[in-house]
Symmetry: C7
Subunit: 232 residues, 7 copies
Amino acid sequence: MRGQDDRQAYDRGTSLFSPDGRLYQVEYAREAVKRGGASVGVRATDGVVLVAERRIRSSLLEARSIEKLHQIDEHNGVASAGHVADARQLVEEARQTAQIEQLSYDQPITPEQLTGEVSEHVQEYTQAGHTRPFGAALLVGGYVDGTPQLFETDPSGTSYEWQATAIGGNSDEIEETLESEYDPEISLDAASSLAVSVLTEEEEDDPETVAVAVIDDDGYRTLDREEIEDLL
Amino acid sequence: MRGQDDRQAYDRGTSLFSPDGRLYQVEYAREAVKRGGASVGVRATDGVVLVAERRIRSSLLEARSIEKLHQIDEHNGVASAGHVADARQLVEEARQTAQIEQLSYDQPITPEQLTGEVSEHVQEYTQAGHTRPFGAALLVGGYVDGTPQLFETDPSGTSYEWQATAIGGNSDEIEETLESEYDPEISLDAASSLAVSVLTEEEEDDPETVAVAVIDDDGYRTLDREEIEDLL
Amino acid sequence: MRGQDDRQAYDRGTSLFSPDGRLYQVEYAREAVKRGGASVGVRATDGVVLVAERRIRSSLLEARSIEKLHQIDEHNGVASAGHVADARQLVEEARQTAQIEQLSYDQPITPEQLTGEVSEHVQEYTQAGHTRPFGAALLVGGYVDGTPQLFETDPSGTSYEWQATAIGGNSDEIEETLESEYDPEISLDAASSLAVSVLTEEEEDDPETVAVAVIDDDGYRTLDREEIEDLL
Amino acid sequence: MRGQDDRQAYDRGTSLFSPDGRLYQVEYAREAVKRGGASVGVRATDGVVLVAERRIRSSLLEARSIEKLHQIDEHNGVASAGHVADARQLVEEARQTAQIEQLSYDQPITPEQLTGEVSEHVQEYTQAGHTRPFGAALLVGGYVDGTPQLFETDPSGTSYEWQATAIGGNSDEIEETLESEYDPEISLDAASSLAVSVLTEEEEDDPETVAVAVIDDDGYRTLDREEIEDLL
Amino acid sequence: MRGQDDRQAYDRGTSLFSPDGRLYQVEYAREAVKRGGASVGVRATDGVVLVAERRIRSSLLEARSIEKLHQIDEHNGVASAGHVADARQLVEEARQTAQIEQLSYDQPITPEQLTGEVSEHVQEYTQAGHTRPFGAALLVGGYVDGTPQLFETDPSGTSYEWQATAIGGNSDEIEETLESEYDPEISLDAASSLAVSVLTEEEEDDPETVAVAVIDDDGYRTLDREEIEDLL
Amino acid sequence: MRGQDDRQAYDRGTSLFSPDGRLYQVEYAREAVKRGGASVGVRATDGVVLVAERRIRSSLLEARSIEKLHQIDEHNGVASAGHVADARQLVEEARQTAQIEQLSYDQPITPEQLTGEVSEHVQEYTQAGHTRPFGAALLVGGYVDGTPQLFETDPSGTSYEWQATAIGGNSDEIEETLESEYDPEISLDAASSLAVSVLTEEEEDDPETVAVAVIDDDGYRTLDREEIEDLL
Amino acid sequence: MRGQDDRQAYDRGTSLFSPDGRLYQVEYAREAVKRGGASVGVRATDGVVLVAERRIRSSLLEARSIEKLHQIDEHNGVASAGHVADARQLVEEARQTAQIEQLSYDQPITPEQLTGEVSEHVQEYTQAGHTRPFGAALLVGGYVDGTPQLFETDPSGTSYEWQATAIGGNSDEIEETLESEYDPEISLDAASSLAVSVLTEEEEDDPETVAVAVIDDDGYRTLDREEIEDLL
């Protein structure tokens, strides 16, 4: 009981460290990320694939409207997990950042720069007193200057670069599978199959249950139903 | 008792996550939406119909003044549910957004864009520290460039696209009926009948108890008493 | 006791929903409205009448100074109930709104527009964190372009249009009487008699205990003592 | 005990209504008004008299410095009661308001306008979150365009017009006396005698214990010791 | 115990009245004034004298640096009591006020005006929510246009005019002595002796233990050691 | 238990001192620094080396993305420890500071100036009320005008200059080793070996587990895998 | 226990007085000053000497970086005690103040003016609601226009002028020694010896354990190791 009471003393303000140096509100925001469906990203030699789980609660719901894949600009895309409305704010932040970079320097923003800017924005919400952290994580995939890149930003505002990873519900299990099956020399087609398979593993193979976007030399593109079926 | 006390530790500030990653104030705002009458939207091949329940507490009340249907611009309308004054603020926000889009780009805003902008506004009220979420949900129906669309925004600031759906009191039961009776090839007339019937099901067939708006190639239009009677 | 304690957990901040989606501070503000004297409004075919109860606590008090009838512009008037100083702020807000409309568009504001603007102002005080709701309700009566209209705005910021209604102490009983006695084809003279009678019902027929204003084709006008006596 | 605890739940923030619609901080500010000496105002046919009690705690204190009578402009004066420093702020507010009116419209402000402006200022301090109400009440007496007027503003920001009244300690008893002795056709001289007598009733007739100001066709003027003695 | 608990409910915010209309934080600030040494002011026919106690805690301390006498301008001086750093802020406020008056109107500010401005500043710190009252009181002595004046401002922001008075520790006892010994026709020299004697009464007659300033036709001047010795 | 309760009274606001003059939130932020991997800096006669531990939790993670070494400008680098997102904000602050100095004075900023500016920024977050301290420490190494310098800034905003030191987890043990092995006349190559060895002591000698940057006459440079292997 | 609880009621906000007129947060900040090493200042006839204790926790730490002596301008220096990062902010404040004075009036600021300005800044942090006091004290020594001066500013924002004094840990004991050994006619050399000896009394005579700065006709200058050895 004591431990419970002690924790409650520090977890009700984003501006507070606990005695052992933890930020509980940030950790709870990570729980919010785990509550939603998973998203997966895999970097191939010739591009990046982003796949997001679709949890369609009604046959009348247009699946595309709850999709967690978002084009940021011609060369970058995002897959989100966690609190949907929070993720949308970060996607808008990312789009504006990309647009400003393009306008300012007349060159596309790299996934690394994009993730860095968004992560700083996310961090600020963990330190200011009158707000809460974002309850969402993003995978940022991009292909700029012939280089495919895959990044993650989490609710603390930390960014990571991955060869392949997953965010959201079940992400730990999916990451284990990716670690054993990923090959750095993988092609974008094989990467797409891998990403879809790790996400649908435990579900029936219904192309409607996932959304897929690839970013390669031709830019950002979402796959249609037939293309997804080919991957299953 | 413990569970009760624990919850109370996290539900009295919009800027707080609970240890399991939930935002209680947003969930309570969803309860506010459920407290009011229901609104229904159905998308047909040639338009969208919005229907709202009227709970007339006095014979001296002008029914139109408590109507939950609002024209946004020539091509878009909104049906609301929940806290009436909160909904009105969102409707004003939507109108201004539509007007700015029209003035800036000289073309009508689509329901999708409109819902996106309003949803971002709603999300901000769930993250800032000195305010509360909006206790209202909206159905946004529109017909732009020959495309009928139906969207929902909820108190978390999440948006969904629907073929047909309901918000407010009893919305779960209404959605079940819609799922079994909706046909994607439905005409606007049939959609109007369907929407009215699912809402009035348990009440006597009084045209005064519902308000109906259709948005099609001719724009936004509310039905008069005789037209509603024809639908019953 | 539990229920009492639970409620107290949510009713001490305007920015908080209770678990069942209620805004307690707004409900308490409605209680503030009930604490004062009643005001009545009746819409006739040729105008609107507003009548307010006068509770004169001293023979030395100038009755007109505690009157709850206020002219807004040439064509609109307000009857208030509840916290007097809060009502005065709303009346000032209404006057400025009317003046701005007149100056901007060179046409008088309608009661509907006026009530809408004031209601939005009232709603904002229910959502911001560092203030309280207004403890006052208004009846807005007006006659613009040959159309008489009667509106109400309450502490939540919701507006209603009425044929006839009452706000403040005893308003429920008065509304019941109005429902049984109101006739939509009523003339302004008959409406004035009705409004005065429902308010003075239980008191001696003293013209000093009520204030009466009529708004018709000739604009806003308050009745003098003899005119009120004729209505008794 | 329960009642005590319940009240304490609502009386420690100016932005809170209690469940029965009361604003406790405003009521406590009214208590602050009662803690000080009384002030009396009486309207005559040809002017207004303001009288304030002087509680001289030391023979070395200059009585005029604790006087609660203040000239606002040539035609208006104020008698205050309650928290002295709060009253002074309101007097300054009144002076500035009068000056602005004079400069803007080149005509003197009436007591009614003056009281209205000050009352709005007072109300705002009862609704904003980071301040407290003013612990002072004012009597505003003036003589503009041949019309004598006497107003009161209280800590809630409500204003009243009076023929004669009292504020501050013992004001209820004084008002009773005024009600029985006041005659609307009273002359300023008789009004002055009445005002002084109701205030000094229970004290020895020492001209030092009261301050007297009259406002009539010749403007605002304070009486000297001999003039006060003549009134006793 | 109950009383203790009740008081604690209201004394921890400057923006709160207690149920009986008191402002506890202001009363506690008055205690802060009582904690320091006393200062005395005496008005003579030809000037004003200010005397402040010096509590020299170390022989290495330069007595002048802890002096509580401050020249404001050529014609006004201040003696302070209470929290030293708070007093210094008020002295700076006074100096700026005097300078602005001089620059704006090309005439010296009177002690009365000066005290009024400073008192308003002090009052504001008792009403705003995010600050505390000043824990200091001032005696303002001045000689302008041939008129000597002595004022006091206290932590509530109230000002008083005195013939002679004391602030700070032991001020009640000193005031009693002053009341019995003060003569309105006193000369500045006699006033100086009186002021010094009431302050040093209980201490050995060490000229180092007091600081003395006189303000007369020649302006503000502090006395040197010999001059003080002459007064003992 | 008492001690525990007492501490909790003061550790939940950055703006509070405990009775013994401690700032608990700053101390907890130091714990956050200890929770991460260690970073080491060693100053040689001809440059500075910074080495950071890499904790690679997955084989799919790009090690460079979690590196805690950051180039600030041509002549300065930073090694961080603690909360990663907080550190990144400080690195950005450092970069902007360096850029502004370069632009303003057309000369590179020294490590001392750089650390001073960042430390002031860090201190402000320990004193303001609506934020929390930074949960990160930095080592700043630079080589400007032929002078190598190594500084540290900690969560309190204090800066230190070192010959060699460590921050983060295990830093106390590493510092002990450095104290016994450091020689002020050490060359950059030897310093690099020393820094790597103290960090990898308890781990297998895997060049992937550390990142190394040197700053010397040629500016800032990170070592590649082979160069690190040579140091092991 | 009661006393403990009572104190805790008032010591957790800088904007609160306790019932006996104390500011606990300021008193706790004074404790923070006592937690660090001591600094000593001695005024001689021909200059001022400042000496600060060095607590070197590691042989690798550059002693000069933790020095508590800071040059402010050519003619003024500061020795600090207490929270190091807080002291640094005050030093920066002092430097800017000196620079502005120099630029505005083309003459050096005196130690008295400098201390006054810094003290006002410090006081403001004891009165505003959203911050904490500075946990640092300063000794300000200067030599302007042939006059040596030594001042202290403490966490309350009070300033004192001294012939000789100490701040920080053990300062009470050091002050006692200074009182018995100080001679107003002391030369700067003798003052330097005195200052060093009182600080190192209980430690071995290691010149590394103290830092010494003198300010005389030639301006501010720190002593090197040999010069300090000569003083031991």
